[in-house]
C-alpha cells in the first residue's frame, strides 16, 4: 500500500471496541468452538463409529446376550443417540467423563490422578527441546552450509526419523537394564521407587532419577523439529534488507544477528512450536508406555488394549482439549510479542 493523500493519517483507524479486546474475544470464541468440536468428535468416535460399543469393548472375551444388554444399560447405550449425546454434553459440562469399564471408577478421577506425571514429563521435555532446538537452529542457520550446520542438520534429521518408542526401548536396554559390562544406571519403570527414605529431597531426587530416560528420549525426538523451524525462519530473515541497513550503520556481525535477525526469526517460530505440541503429546503416549511412566499416555495404552471406550474417550478429550487450549494461549502470547499483528 502506498500513501493516500493524507500523509499523517494513521493506518490503523477503526471503529468499535479496541482491537485487542476484539481479538481476545474472537480467539477465545474460536477456542470454545474447537473444544465443542472435540467433544462432538469424541462422541462420534467412541459412541457412533463403533456401531455397538458394548460389543467392541467385549470383543476379546466371550459374553452372553444378557451380559451385553446389562453393559448397554450400564453405559446408557440403550437410549437413542440424540439422548445419549445430550446426556454426554451435560455430563461433560459438569466435568463428568463417564465411568471406566475396566477400573469401574469415574474416568475424570482416573485422569486427574495421571495428569501430574504427564505434565512433569511433557513440560520438562518441551522446555529442554525448545532451548536446545532454538539454540542449535540459530547456530546452524548462521553457519549455513558449514560443518556446524551439516552436523546439526544430519543428527537432527536422523533422530527425527527414529520412532520415539524404539529410541525408548534402546535407551531402556542400554541405560536401564545394561548391556554387557555396563550396569543399568537408571530405573527401568515407573516414577518412583518403593524403598525411598522419607522426606521431600530424597523423593524429588528419586523422581528426577526416574525422569531422566523418558525425558531425554522425548527431547531427542522432538528437538529436531524446533531446530529446523528456527533454522528455516532465520535463513529467511538473513536475506532481509534491514540487515543491510544494520550493517551500514556500523553494527558488528554478532549484533546484527542478536539485535535484528534473531528477534524477527523467533516470532514465527513461537507459533510453530505450539503447532508441534500435538507431536509431543503423541510422543508422550509411547514413551510412557515404554517406561511405564504413570501418566495419561500409559492410561491411554491401558485403555486401548481392552478397549475401554469411556476411558479412551476421556483421555482423547483431555489430550486434544489441552492442545487446543495451549494453541489459543500461544496465539494470544504471539500477538502481544509481535507488533506486526498487534493491530491487524
Amino acid at each position: 500500500m502506498t500513501d493516500t493523500r493524507d500523509e499523517f493519517e494513521t493506518s490503523a483507524a477503526s471503529t468499535g471496541p479496541p482491537p485487542l479486546l476484539r481479538f481476545v474475544a474472537a480467539k477465545a470464541g474460536g477456542g470454545v468452538v474447537s473444544l465443542f468440536l472435540v467433544a462432538v468428535l469424541g462422541f462420534f468416535l467412541f459412541r457412533v463409529l463403533p456401531g455397538d460399543p458394548a460389543r467392541t469393548m467385549t470383543r476379546s472375551t466371550p459374553v452372553s446376550a444378557e451380559q451385553l444388554a446389562a453393559l448397554r444399560h450400564r453405559f446408557g447405550l440403550d437410549q437413542p443417540l440424540y439422548l445419549q449425546f445430550r446426556d454426554f454434553v451435560i455430563d461433560l459440562l459438569h466435568g463428568d467423563l463417564g465411568t471406566s469399564y475396566i477400573y469401574n471408577r469415574p474416568v475424570a478421577e482416573l485422569i486427574l490422578e495421571r495428569v501430574g506425571p504427564t505434565v512433569l514429563l511433557v513440560g520438562t521435555a518441551t522446555v529442554l527441546a525448545v532451548l536446545v532446538g532454538l539454540w542449535m537452529g540459530a547456530r546452524a542457520a548462521w553457519h549455513q552450509g558449514g560443518p556446524v550446520d551439516r552436523w546439526f542438520t544430519s543428527v537432527g534429521l536422523t533422530l527425527w526419523s527414529v520412532p520415539t518408542f524404539w529410541l525408548g526401548l534402546l535407551a531402556l536396554m542400554a541405560f536401564g537394564v545394561g548391556v554387557g559390562p555396563l550396569p543399568g544406571l537408571f530405573p527401568v519403570a515407573g516414577m518412583s521407587s518403593a524403598n525411598v527414605p522419607a522426606g521431600v529431597v530424597p523423593h524429588v531426587l528419586d523422581v528426577a532419577h526416574h525422569l531422566v530416560l523418558p525425558c531425554l528420549t522425548l527431547v531427542a525426538v522432538i528437538y529436531a523439529q524446533f531446530m529446523m523451524v528456527m533454522r528455516t525462519s532465520l535463513l529467511e530473515e538473513m536475506g532481509a534488507e534491514y540487515l543491510t541497513t544494520a550493517r551500514a550503520k556500523g553494527l558488528r556481525e554478532d549484533l546484527v544477528r542478536r539485535r535484528h535477525a534473531v528477534p524477527n526469526a523467533l516470532l514465527p517460530t513461537v507459533t510453530l512450536i505450539f503447532l508441534h505440541l500435538g507431536l509431543v503429546v503423541a510422543g508422550a503416549i509411547t514413551v510412557e508406555t515404554v517406561f511405564s511412566w504413570p501418566g495419561l499416555g500409559l492410561l491411554t495404552y491401558e485403555a486401548l488394549r481392552v478397549p475401554d471406550l469411556p476411558l479412551l474417550q476421556g483421555t482423547f478429550i483431555v489430550l486434544a482439549g489441552s492442545v487446543i487450549v495451549m494453541n489459543v494461549l500461544a496465539e494470544l502470547v504471539y500477538r502481544l510479542l509481535d507488533p506486526r499483528v498487534r493491530d491487524s
Binding site: D3, S11, T15, K249, G250, L267
Partner: protein
C-alpha cells in the same frame, strides 16, 4: 579541498555459476563536499552495486577493483573496526523501499537511536539520545508522537522520512540515496524529494542519488551521470545533460520523461482520433453512475469507485490518471466485467453488460486486458504459443489457431513469429514479454484494450516502443484503448483524452492538450505541480 568521495577505475565483479559477471566497469567519479550527483540507469546497470561498494556492503561473492576514497581514506585498506566506525558517520544510506529496509519488530525511535549510541565515544545519556531522536524526527517533519510507531504503522512516505532521519543521525558528510522515492506516489514523492533537497543543502552534505527516473534526479541534483551496462557513459550538469543528451541511452532515458506542454514530445498520431481506417466513432464502452464498494478488514465499507461516468469512444485512446489508491484499477476491472458494480451500469456498444453466460464471454472477447507486469502476466510454464492461443482455446475458436496466433504475434511486432512461438517467457526480454501479452489480447480481435500501467515496469528504452505500438494499433486497426496510469507524461505522450481520478471520483475530463495545459480542477493542478522538474532544483 579533498573530495568526500572519489572512485578511481572501480569495477565490481560477481562470481556466478555461469562465470564472473561484471556489474560495474571502470567507474571514475569525484564528489566534492556539499555537491549533489545523480546516477541514472535502467535496472541491472550496476548503479546499486556501485553505491553499496562505497561502504563495502556488497555480498561476499563480489570483488571490487580500483580504489574508493571515502573522505580521503581508501576503504579497502581500512580494518573492519575502522570501517565500522566510518559507516554512517562518514557516509550513510537511504535505502530503496523503506518497508524492508527498516526492522519490522522495533520501533522507529529505537532504530534511529541505534547508530547514535553506537558511534558515540562514550555511552550517551538516555535523555540526550531521546532528545536527539525527537530533533531528527522534527527535521523530517514527522510528529514526535510517531516515535514509538512500528514501521508497518507508517505510510510509505513516513517510512522514507524515518530513513532520512536515520541517515542524518550521525551528521554524515555524504548521503547515498538508492531509489529513495521509487515506491511512492507522485505527490508524496515531490514532498520527500523537497525535504531531502532542503536538508542536504542546509547542512552542506554531499548527496549521491541513484534512480532509474531521470526526472527525479534532475529535480534533486546539480550533476547527473548515466550508467549503461556497468559503464558510466555520460556525465555533466543536469540541465545540459537532459536538454542535449549525447549518448543514445541518455536520449532514451530523457524521452521517457516528457515535458508536458511540449508538442514535440507528443507521439506521432496522438490526439488525432477518428482519422484511422475503419474507425467507428461513438461510445464503445461506457460506465454510467458506477459505484464499487469493498469490505475492508474492519468490515467497514470502502467506496473505491463513487458514481463514475466514463466513456471510451471508438478509435480513441483515453488515459485514466490518478494516484495509487484512487480507484482507477477497480474502475477498470469493473469495465472489464471482472468486478460487479454495486450501483450503476456498464454499457458495451450501448447495451448493458451481461453478468454471466454466453454474452459475457462474447464481451470478454471484445474488451481485452493488458497488465502492468508482463513477467507476472504470463504463466512461466506456458510457451509463447500457448500464452497467445489461450484466449482462442477459452473461446473455442480452434480451427485456424496457428494462423491467428501467428497473425497476432506479427501485429504485436514480434517478427518472425516462428522464432518466438516455442520460447518460454523467461527466455524473452521485458519488452518482448509485454508484446506477447498484447498479442494474447489481439488474437481475439478485440475492439478495446484496457491497459493498466502498460509500461510502468519496463525500462525507458522499451517504453517508447510499446507506446508507439499502441498508437499504431489504433491507426491500423481502429483499436481503442483505455490506458490507466499514474504518469501524466504518458498521457501527454499518446492519449487523446484524459480523465483525472481522485478518491474514487472523476474530477476532470477533457482533451489532453486542454486538461494538462490549462487544468481547471485544483487536484489536476496539484498533480501537475508534483511532476519533477528543473525549476525545483534551482530554487
Amino acid at each position: 579541498m579533498t573530495p568526500i568521495l572519489r572512485l578511481d577505475g572501480v569495477s565490481v565483479t560477481y562470481r556466478g555459476e555461469d562465470g564472473p559477471h561484471r556489474a560495474v566497469v571502470d567507474a571514475n567519479l569525484t564528489l566534492r563536499p556539499g555537491a549533489t550527483l545523480g546516477l541514472a540507469g535502467e535496472s541491472g546497470c550496476g548503479k546499486t552495486s556501485l553505491a553499496l561498494a562505497v561502504l563495502r556492503l556488497l555480498p561476499r561473492s563480489a570483488r571490487v577493483d580500483g580504489t574508493i576514497l571515502l573522505d580521503g581514506h581508501d576503504i579497502e585498506r581500512l580494518t573492519w573496526g575502522e570501517l565500522r566506525a566510518a559507516r554512517w558517520t562518514s557516509a550513510s544510506v537511504v535505502f530503496q523501499g523503506a518497508m524492508h529496509a527498516l526492522n519490522p519488530v522495533r520501533t522507529v525511535a529505537e532504530q534511529i537511536a541505534e547508530p547514535i549510541r553506537l558511534h558515540s565515544p562514550e555511552r550517551p545519556a538516555a535523555a540526550r539520545v531521546r532528545a536527539r531522536v525527537t530533533e531528527l524526527l522534527e527535521q523530517v517533519e514527522l510528529p514526535g508522537a510517531r516515535r514509538d510507531a512500528y514501521p508497518h504503522e507508517l505510510s510509505g512516505g513516513q517510512r522514507q522520512r524515518v530513513m532520512i532521519a536515520m541517515a542524518l543521525a550521525c551528521d554524515p558528510r555524504l548521503i547515498i540515496a538508492d531509489e529513495p522515492t521509487t515506491a511512492l506516489d507522485v505527490v508524496v514523492q515531490a514532498q520527500v524529494l523537497a525535504l531531502l533537497r532542503r536538508l542536504v543543502s542546509e547542512r552542506g552534505i554531499a548527496l549521491l542519488m541513484i534512480s532509474h527516473d531521470l526526472s527525479v534526479l534532475a529535480a534533486s541534483c546539480r550533476c547527473l551521470g548515466v550508467m549503461y551496462r556497468g559503464r558510466l557513459v555520460e556525465e555533466g550538469p543536469a540541465r545540459q545533460l537532459v536538454a542535449t543528451p549525447e549518448h543514445e541511452h541518455t536520449r532514451a532515458l530523457a524521452a521517457a520523461f516528457p515535458t508536458i506542454g511540449d508538442e514535440g514530445s507528443r507521439y506521432p498520431g496522438a490526439g488525432e482520433p477518428g482519422e484511422s481506417a475503419g474507425g467507428v466513432r461513438g461510445s464503445l464502452l461506457a460506465a454510467e453512475g458506477v459505484s464499487v464498494e469493498f469490505g475492508d478488514r474492519y468490515r467497514n465499507r470502502v467506496r473505491a469507485v463513487r458514481d463514475v461516468d466514463l466513456e471510451v469512444m471508438g478509435d480513441e485512446i483515453l488515459a485514466l490518471v490518478g494516484q495509487s489508491g484512487s480507484g482507477k484499477t477497480t474502475l477498470a476491472r469493473t469495465l472489464l466485467g471482472l468486478c460487479p458494480p454495486n450501483a450503476g451500469t456498464v454499457y458495451y456498444e450501448g447495451r448493458p453488460l451481461a453478468t454471466s453466460g454466453r454474452e459475457l464471454r462474447a464481451f470478454r472477447g471484445s474488451v481485452q486486458l493488458v497488465l502492468q507486469d508482463p513477467t507476472g502476466a504470463l504463466n512461466p510454464k506456458h510457451t509463447v504459443y500457448e500464452a497467445v492461443a489461450e484466449g482462442l482455446r477459452v473461446h473455442g475458436c480452434a480451427d485456424d489457431e496457428a494462423v491467428r496466433v501467428r497473425e497476432a504475434l506479427e501485429a504485436a511486432e514480434l517478427r518472425p513469429a516462428e522464432e518466438f512461438t516455442a520460447r518460454f517467457p523467461h527466455e524473452l526480454s521485458g519488452g518482448q514479454r509485454q508484446r506477447v501479452v498484447i498479442a494474447g489480447a489481439l488474437v481475439l480481435r478485440p475492439r478495446v484494450l484496457v491497459a493498466d500501467e502498460p509500461v510502468a515496469s519496463l525500462d525507458a528504452t522499451v517504453r517508447g516502443e510499446i507506446l508507439a505500438l499502441l498508437l499504431r494499433l489504433r491507426r491500423e486497426r481502429g483499436l481503442s484503448a483505455l490506458v490507466i496510469t499514474h504518469d501524466l507524461g504518458l498521457a501527454w505522450n499518446i492519449a487523446d483524452r484524459v480523465a483525472v481520478m481522485r478518491s474514487g471520483e472523476i474530477v476532470e475530463t477533457g482533451p489532453v492538450e486542454r486538461v494538462l495545459t490549462e487544468p481547471r480542477h485544483d487536484y489536476t493542478k496539484e498533480l501537475l505541480a508534483a511532476v519533477p522538474s528543473f525549476e525545483g532544483s534551482v530554487s
